[in-house]
């Protein structure tokens, strides 16, 4: 993959929220890339900034939030500083989006056919009939039975899982190269979740679409992603191939995270627990943001913030890695 131009590249991204109590830095120097056709998972707990990262990339940051530094490049071209109209053209055509709640992602007043056709015709130069045929085909691909009849139904006539399939169809409608999916299965039942995950993975492989999958569910990441980035307090603390991050994590936070997830194949009396809680945005410690809770903290961690350093197959923002002392998984 070396030498290939990454589809999405984020360099030193900073997102801040000016408030009356001062400016809060929600994303602090985030850098990562996604190759064409790759599925990157972004995982973290609430407040880590993963949804914000997705929102910044699609250009849907809620004001007063704003990008305060860094660059976002799509196929080598900067998109973080584009005016609204140009960003709107990119959104949908080159970047698709899937959000958590299928109930509010679809407009209840229009048939799903209308919404699909409108999306297709906004971005592609096709006629109404061609768009409709395309929409039916998309619905069939996403597993909606009797697509030709159901295309004229309204969102409330579909169940939750079906609606999420429609949302996926909408996201793929204009053949984007990248899809940003923010917690796409969190609101669904377990059995439906499995269906949607496998659907997403299959379709993206078939269409060659890259996916940035934002979620807090490590199991979903394990099933779907090629690489994963772990976020903590607005920073990326570890990134690497999925199997390595899960089974051989280097960063103490990742170690703690993996240890605190109850697994199906082992019995433990106590779950590994990380004491304390993620710091609030207005109280982020200096140096490494994880240092107050880290079982392996030493002096340097409190004063200097580590960059992402090579730690075997993954990269981790931890001084222990630099010293050649890897965390025990």
């Amino acid at each position: 993959m070396a030498g290939a131009v990454p589809l999405l590249e984020v360099r030193h991204l900073r997102v801040e929220f000016p408030s009356r109590r001062g400016t809060l830095l929600a994303l602090d120097d985030i850098s990562f890339s996604i190759a064409p056709g790759e599925v990157l998972g972004v995982v973290g707990e609430s407040g880590a900034g993963k949804s914000l990262t997705g929102a910044a990339i699609i250009g849907l940051l809620d004001p007063p939030g704003r990008i305060a530094g860094g660059e976002i490049l799509l196929a080598g071209q900067r998109i973080d500083n584009l005016p609204y109209e140009q960003m709107r053209a990119i959104r949908g055509r080159r970047i698709g989006a899937i959000f958590q709640d299928p109930l509010t992602s679809l407009n209840p007043l229009y048939t799903i056919g209308r919404q699909l056709i409108e999306t297709i015709r906004t971005h592609l130069p096709v006629s109404e009939d061609q768009a409709r045929a395309r929409a039916v085909k998309l619905l069939q691909e996403t597993g909606i039975p009797a697509a030709e009849q159901r295309i004229d139904q309204y969102p409330h006539q579909f169940s939750g899982g079906m609606r999420q399939r429609v949302v996926i169809a909408l996201a793929l409608a204009a053949e984007p190269k990248l899809i940003v999916a923010d917690e796409p299965t969190t609101a669904l039942d377990v059995s439906i979740q499995a269906q949607i995950i496998s659907l997403l993975r299959r379709l993206c492989k078939e269409h060659g679409t890259a996916v940035m999958l934002v979620t807090h569910d490590m199991g979903v990441i394990a099933e779907t992603c090629d690489r994963v980035a772990v976020m903590y307090a607005g920073r990326i603390v570890e990134v690497g191939p999925v199997a390595d991050v899960i089974h051989r994590p280097s960063h103490p936070y990742t170690v703690g995270l993996m240890g605190s997830i109850p697994a199906m194949d082992e019995d433990r009396e106590r779950l590994l627990q990380i004491d304390g809680a993620m710091p609030r945005l207005n109280a982020i410690p200096s140096g490494c943001a994880f240092n107050p809770r880290c079982p392996q903290v030493f002096e340097r961690c409190r004063s200097e913030r580590p960059d992402l350093l090579e730690a075997g197959p993954t990269r981790a923002a931890c001084w222990r890695v630099a010293d050649g002392l890897r965390s025990v998984a």
């Binding site: 707990e45 609430s46 169940s159 899982g161 079906m162 039942d189 377990v190 059995s191 439906i192 979740q193 499995a194 269906q195 995950i197 496998s198 807090h216 569910d217 490590m218 199991g219 979903v220 990441i221 394990a222 099933e223 779907t224 899960i246 703690g256 995270l257 993996m258 240890g259 605190s260 997830i261 109850p262 697994a263 199906m264 194949d265 082992e266 019995d267 433990r268 009396e269 106590r270 779950l271 590994l272 627990q273 990380i274 004491d275 809680a277 993620m278």
Partner: protein, 331 residues
Amino acid sequence: MTAPLVEVKDLAKTFDVSAPWLNRVVERQPRQFVHAVDGVSFAIQRGKTLALVGESGCGKSTVARLLVGLYSPTRGSVQFDGKDTHGAADRAQLRLMRRRMQMIFQDPYASLNPRWKVRDIVGEPLTEHGLVTDAVELRRRVAELLLSVGLAAADVDKFPHQFSGGQRQRISIARALATQPEFLVCDEPTSALDVSVQAQVLNIMKDLQRQRGLTYLFISHNLAVVRHVSDQVGVMYLGRLVELADKAELFSRPRHPYTRMLLDAIPDIRMSGRARTPVQGEVPNPLSPPSGCAFHPRCPHANARCSQERPALTAVAGISVACHAVTEGRI
């Protein structure tokens, strides 16, 4: 074998979800009912944890609320320490029973009154049952309870919004423990929490169970969590109990097709990439449940009998399962 602490027999709850009378008359609609819980029976031994799992609409939360008295059963009985909780027991007895069982809820943000201080929230059960009348004593008891769940004594004077989700859930646990109950019903207590916070809360719950000999009914949709905390597991589908077994047995040898489907469907971080049977269909509309066995439209092993006759929960090789295919030996 000692008598179980909690025993539930043929418990059922039906909700009337008909349209208002005027609408029904004008539009000539029939009355509509949802059988949220349709004949559930189980028993929980003292000091043990029974987990109820299932997807949305299976009725597990309704069972929880039936047990603590938030709903009255349409049919069936709940027995706590040998005494009926809804029956002819007089008010004083009922109040005594209420002291011995408590509930922990799912949403840490809605389960604490935002305008009350922690001292009042956790102290309410104590004052309500007249266990503590002195204000100084109340403070002391509340501080003690907070310490037992890993919070600070100084937190008594704070408001809920000053705490994180995990801390609020601990406050809920402290409130539930105030009257020193023997039985705790936990309705998805960690579903709204982050994974690392969940680990903290689950550890506390297990510690407390060991220290105080508590009995838990643990409701969840997360099978991995259930596997970690439970002794016995009951799987529910559309208001009915389809399988009830010891934890080890259920997870190593699931019998009912729905249990197998659930276990197969979970994305697990350690066991990714395994071959899976594809999942069929979705949970049917509870207003018009399928005839016979509720799972038969989605079941790969269904036959004619399954669509006509509802299977009863029968004991098979040490577990209980409601499936014709299993009792007939087909699977």
